[in-house]
């Protein structure tokens, strides 16, 4: 998780940060299930994990649609 956080914070382009956020979100789903097993309340936490997966998907989709047509956001590696 810390590795993905590194990519999120220091990523050279905006879409690199988006990759990091997506990876962290999909790890958090598993982490929520593990927390549910630890607290013996898995019946509640499985719903939370499902909702979190859905929210992560919608967030990444919306962000990548938002950055569709924006040139000039990236500091390096442009196509000429």
């Amino acid at each position: 998780m810390l590795f993905s956080l590194y990519r999120t914070v220091f990523g050279p382009t905006v879409l690199d940060r988006l990759i990091g956020v997506n990876a962290i979100g999909s790890k958090t789903v598993v982490l929520l299930l593990l927390i549910g097993f630890l607290y013996e309340r898995i019946d509640m936490f499985v719903d939370i994990a499902l909702a979190y997966a859905f929210l992560n998907f919608v967030a990444v989709l919306a962000a990548s649609r938002y950055f569709h047509k924006r040139k000039g956001l990236y500091e390096e590696s442009f196509m000429d």
């Binding site: 990519r7 990759i19 789903v29 499985v46």
Partner: protein, 107 residues
């Protein structure tokens, strides 16, 4: 049963670790996207499958329902995660992000 659960969890952990190292170490943007996609599908598949099998230890109708819900998570992630990855690639292509080639100045 226990051995299978441990095997699935360890496989998922290996996928998570490998994908994190790949996200850090890969040279280009599209290269970095590849381990991220692997992490989403394969890591979540094996870890949630292992947790669902572990949940079936004390077998009852309730735990069976919970395991079915976990399979629902796996199913949803299998639909959603390639869509999200493809959407990120699409954004990168349309914004004109150049892909990494061997003969750029650093490796």
């Amino acid at each position: 049963m226990d051995i299978l659960v441990v095997l699935l969890l360890v496989t998922g952990m290996v996928f998570f670790l490998g994908a994190s190292v790949g996200i850090i170490r890969m040279p280009g943007f599209y290269c970095r996207l590849h381990p991220a996609g692997k992490l989403d599908t394969l890591g979540i598949l094996s870890m949630v499958m292992g947790l669902a099998l572990y949940n079936l230890h004390h077998f009852s109708l309730e735990s069976l329902l919970l395991s079915i819900k976990m399979f629902l998570i796996v199913f949803f992630v299998f639909l959603a995660s390639p869509t999200a990855t493809h959407s990120i690639v699409d954004a990168g292509m349309r914004a004109g992000l150049r892909h990494w080639t061997q003969k750029k100045r650093k490796g």
